[in-house]
Symmetry: C2
Subunit: 298 residues, 2 copies
DNA sequence: AGTCAAATTTGTCTAGGACATAATCATGAG
DNA sequence: CTCATGATTATGTCCTAGACAAATTTGACT
């Protein structure tokens, strides 16, 4: 957790929690929380303990709770909510918990080796759908409950990245079809989803061009043109505000030539209520394979 | 460039340019630029052309110019400034320009192959210092002059990442010394510098733990403890505000045990005026090898 | 030319109000 | 009882105009 006696100004809190300055101020006005002390210039200084609470609140909002219900709750109350949250827990296979144990023990090297073993035992499609995907969810839930720290989650991401990149490097198809451009919109900085999509698509014989994260919309359009892409594939996590996802997809769809398909996947789009016209939403990785087959047929 | 007739609200402009909302408003008040139109609610709507100018202005500020000199300049004036900027151009080897041509031609696959050839011809240390480093600078300058677009720069980063990660995977030393923890502070999202450092350190026999980008300070401390790190190595690019670098290094140095060394490198730290106590600044990658030797001796 | 203080520049913070849109609630129809 | 439709509440983002500390530049004086 944060240093106990430290105080943070509003800019630092915004960066650390991902909650905007305006939002922090308006919560204070409306809900009476957070309740920062003030320095000699009447500027807000947030105690570390409140920053910790804000982090937990952010997690609850990301999984769909509403501010009026969670902003201002005490640490124990927040933890109670977080612990009862994952009711939809499917039966995780015991093997997955071994990976989690490796994460908690900070055995990065051993984790990578174990993941690689699973990859070559199961094959890439099963590895992604039966190991990585549920493991991501399991890790996400454990992180939600505070059982896994941020740095442990970073370590985990790094090992997955390492394993997937090695796999992709060896199955890349520079002459495949369709041509797919992979990236995320500004604001979405997670690349794991992209890597999983690239692996799946490459295996389906598609030709992938990875642009990395946070490509401005205008640049995506240019890149699609330059690479004569048939498909632009975007990935969204829960950390991306639903409104930004919606308007971003709208703008991009409008700016992109009609013959270029726009695919969106990840936990962030599962949240979207009404689908956008001309945007294909993919719930699971397996949908990708299916969508490629459909595209080839039709 | 941005869609010609499009209008963007202040939040989008902040995300696209990296200039904060407060700063955009105060520039308008002080310098009369940007001069957005207003919608029916008196909310700012920035024309695409002004967003383009703001992007160029941001680049000039990142290389050390002052707002009073550049905010409000017209597109031709900005381009004139950008073109005269890189006076310190060293004599680039002709081979480097071939890489640049591949980038401009969007030949991602060919670029990766060419880079790999150079890697195995030169060896890793020379590849990093004589190819990648100057190429980064060359690409950075070309980008500054608008000769390389954002998406092309993304494509370039992706290929470098791919080549370096493959190299690192094959020289990783899980039992080496010293133990180094690699990451960036919140706000710094570029990981190329980290990868180059990891490659150099691994080759020196160090044991690297890569945490990826944007690890909160408190988490870095915990990770250093968990991995019994001897060194925490941070990377900073020009896109990181100097003030954030300074205060971040101060905070981290204070929170880290004294016996853990703190190393900082990248173009962002070259800008820092006064070095922080207890922080080692590394100007070039070769300094890393040297610093490791020194550490082993002393 | 170097050093120190004064002046200027610059980013970030403040308050309190406003509004569009999303989410929830309530009502009525089938 | 279920579904749709309209009213109400909740919520994030934007607004103005002022303030101040820290960084940088300027200017005076060795």
């Amino acid at each position: 957790m944060s240093q106990e006696n430290s105080l943070f100004n509003i800019g630092v809190v915004e960066r650390e929690t991902g909650i905007g300055k305006d939002t922090l101020r308006v919560w204070e006005r409306r809900y009476g929380f957070p309740a920062p002390v003030r320095d000699q210039n009447e500027e807000r200084l947030y105690p570390g303990e409140q920053v910790d609470r804000l982090r937990l609140i952010k997690r609850l909002l990301d999984i769909g709770m509403r501010p009026v219900k969670v902003v201002g709750l005490s640490l124990p109350e927040l933890n109670a909510l977080l612990n009862e949250a994952p009711k939809n827990a499917p039966g995780y296979s015991p093997e997955l918990f071994e990976f989690v144990e490796l994460i908690k023990a900070h055995q990065g090297g051993a984790l990578r080796i174990a993941l690689n073993l699973a990859l070559f035992r199961q094959g890439l499609p099963d590895f992604l759908s039966k190991t990585i995907s549920p493991l991501n969810q399991l890790v996400g839930e454990a992180w939600l409950r505070g059982e896994i720290r941020v740095f442990e989650e970073h370590l985990y991401s790094e090992q997955i990245t390492s394993v997937l990149r090695a796999a992709i490097a060896s199955i890349r198809n520079p002459a495949g079809t369709p041509r797919v451009l992979l990236t995320t919109l500004p604001g979405e900085e997670h690349s794991l989803g992209l890597l999983m999509a690239e692996a799946t698509l490459s295996l389906s014989g598609a030709q992938c061009t990875m642009l990395g994260v946070q490509t401005p919309i205008g640049e995506i359009v240019l890149a699609a043109q330059a690479h004569q892409a048939d498909i632009v594939a975007l990935s969204f996590t829960l950390s991306m505000p639903p409104l930004q996802i919606k308007s971003g997809l709208q703008q991009l769809r409008q700016a992109l030539p009609r013959h270029v398909a726009l695919w969106a996947g990840g936990s962030g789009v599962a949240r979207q209520r009404k689908p956008e016209d001309g945007v294909q939403y993919l719930g699971a990785l397996s949908d990708l394979t299916e969508a490629v087959s459909l595209l080839r047929q039709g």
